[in-house]
């Protein structure tokens, strides 16, 4: 059974059909890429899945349960966490406090050991992203690349099983992009299922098991990276697909 299923998801804003009859599914541990020109509905799709915006039609199933239209924080509790296209962190708090908030879902009770295990988890995350020396710095003072890492760290603190990443490589330089790629691979090896949205083709093609291409809210292609790269409609939609940069 597929761990995650999206069936006939649709959303329109006034007259504009942002997402139109989109369906796909995922197996555990898969990395799915979603590509498409700006405005093709990628971020809206994330909003619909996590119910930041309720869908007009369609269903979303996670581990066999229908999660369509559930409260966003409950969806997060069930294991689906997202990041945002415009990187969001808690600006006036330092890194450590940011990550502490991210662990909100992991507090089961008020046991002393719980505080310790959360501290340890925060340490692990800081080390994972190589940010341990920056822990007391205010999030708003972080340079862009580190802020993106923090945003990823925030998503991971919540203990997700399905991670929706909205443009994780946007604005990153060569080195940072590679680091992000390594992070994503590591997460896959830990069994976390991921959906990536990005415009960096080399990044997406190199990481994803499967790719979906959207255009004007519709799914126009689905397949392995090779197939997508050679799909005529996809190429046309991008007006001559950008070569890896």
């Amino acid at each position: 059974m597929k761990i995650f299923e999206v069936r006939n998801l649709s959303k329109s804003f006034g007259g504009l059909q942002a997402v139109s009859d989109v369906s796909f599914d995922l197996s555990q541990g898969e990395i799915l890429g979603i590509i498409g020109p700006n405005g093709s509905g990628k971020t809206t799709l994330f909003n619909l899945i996590t119910n930041f915006i309720p869908p007009d039609e369609g269903e979303i199933h996670w581990k066999g349960a229908d999660i369509t239209g559930l409260r966003t924080d409950i969806i997060a509790q069930m294991g689906i966490v997202r990041t945002f296209q415009l990187t969001r962190v808690f600006p006036r708090l330092d890194l450590q406090e940011n990550l502490a908030i991210g662990h909100h879902l992991r507090y089961a009770g008020k046991i002393k050991n719980l505080e310790e295990s959360i501290s340890k988890s925060i340490e692990l995350l800081l080390n994972f992203f190589n940010l341990q020396d920056r822990r007391k710095i205010l999030a708003s003072n972080l340079p862009y690349g580190e802020r993106k890492k923090l945003a990823m760290g925030l998503a991971l603190s919540a203990g997700p099983e399905l991670l929706l990443e909205d443009e994780p490589a946007a604005g990153l330089n060569q080195v940072e992009t590679e680091e992000m790629g390594n992070v994503i691979r590591k997460l896959q090896s830990q069994g976390i299922t991921q959906i990536l949205v990005d415009h960096d083709m080399k990044f997406i093609m190199g990481l994803c098991d499967r790719i979906i291409c959207l255009n004007f809210g519709r799914k126009i292609a689905e397949g392995a990276p090779r197939e997508i790269q050679q799909n005529e409609e996809v190429i046309q939609v991008y007006l001559g697909e950008q070569d890896a940069d």
């Binding site: 924080d73 509790q77 997202r82 969001r88 909100h104 879902l105």
Partner: protein, 329 residues
């Protein structure tokens, strides 16, 4: 480290205060203490969770009136009346909170504005219960408890009442500190910083907003009881929207979202007019000016400003003067 010493000194000064000042200033300090409680309460919904509540004075008033009515009309003891007024405020604030907290911040402020007006109108017109504009005049101070050593406390004495209020202030400050470190407190701050992000991280935003609202209301109601039984008379005119606005301004000037802010703000609120002999009306003009100044340049109020001064420059000067190598940043 320095913080703890600093607060220790402040508490010590507060405890020793009645030895140094005469009755008039002690009276002012009692009022300051009660006011401080109000601002600390507002700090929880506004400073730590986000939305600006203009209903704080109403909860203050409801606390005062309930306590006053229960003791003067129903002959209940203060020690029963005050907890009952807290109970009432919990019911009211949960109900009102669930309705208004759905609204986005600006609309929430407007809604609480409306709430404040409605409650004032009730106080002013429900004559059989509240005695209307004349208010309630025969409020007694809290009865002495017939249990040693509490029987030594006589709350009709201004000095004793001062310590009574101080007790609540310290209690509230300690409560706020622990709240901040708790899961609930972190959720509050997360909501203030970025509500949608908090939601994405699994925080049930509405629930926590209501908690913050109710906690603020409880603190306001307690202040109200303390106020009513100190001044021994209350009128609706003491609990208007202007009081609510004044509270918001004091919080902003002192430093929203800090613990020292409400305390500092309350002191300024009382002492400045005294020191400079200003009419209350002119004080509002001055406040208005400072609020604009503060919001633009010092969003974290005086306390935030103080922190900035203390951190960067202080350290720079010290390291320069002592010829120390600055610590790695």
């Amino acid at each position: 480290m320095f913080k703890k010493i600093f607060y220790g000194i402040v508490v010590l000064l507060a405890i020793l205060l009645p030895l140094f000042v005469g009755p008039y200033y002690l009276h002012l300090m009692v009022l300051t203490g009660i006011y401080c409680l109000l601002v600390l309460g507002l700090n929880i919904i506004m400073g730590y969770t986000g939305p600006a509540s203009l209903a704080q004075a109403s909860f203050y008033g409801i606390g005062a009136y309930t306590s006053a009515i229960l003791t003067t009309r129903l002959g209940l003891s203060f020690w029963i009346a005050m907890p009952l007024s807290v109970l009432l405020i919990i019911i009211i604030s949960v109900f009102l909170g669930v309705i208004t907290l759905r609204l986005v911040s600006h609309y929430f402020a407007i809604a609480t504005f409306g709430l404040c007006e409605i409650i004032f109108i009730v106080m002013d017109n429900w004559v059989p219960v509240t005695n209307g504009p004349s208010g309630i005049h025969d409020i007694k101070p809290p009865e002495t408890i017939n249990l040693f050593p509490l029987s030594l406390i006589d709350l009709s004495s201004r000095v004793h009442y001062y310590y009574f209020v101080l007790f609540f202030v310290i209690l509230t400050v300690v409560f706020t500190v622990y709240l901040l470190r708790s899961r609930m407190g972190r959720a509050f701050v997360a909501i203030r910083e970025d509500e949608e992000l908090a939601r994405a991280e699994g925080i049930y935003v509405m629930k926590y907003k209501v908690y913050a609202f109710v906690i603020s209301a409880i603190i306001a109601a307690v202040s109200g009881s303390l106020f009513a039984h100190y001044l021994q008379f209350i009128t609706p005119g003491m609990f208007t929207i202007f009081e609510s606005l004044n509270l918001v301004i004091v919080l902003l000037i002192g430093g929203s979202g800090t613990i020292a802010g409400p305390i500092l703000g309350s002191l300024i609120n009382v002492l400045i007019p005294e020191i400079f002999n200003i009419l209350p009306e002119i004080r509002m003009v001055i406040y208005g000016f400072f609020v604009i100044l503060f919001i633009v340049f010092l969003p974290e109020g005086l306390v935030g400003f103080g922190k900035k001064l203390l951190s960067a420059e202080f350290l720079k000067n010290i390291t320069r003067k002592l010829n120390l190598v600055p610590a790695a940043d």
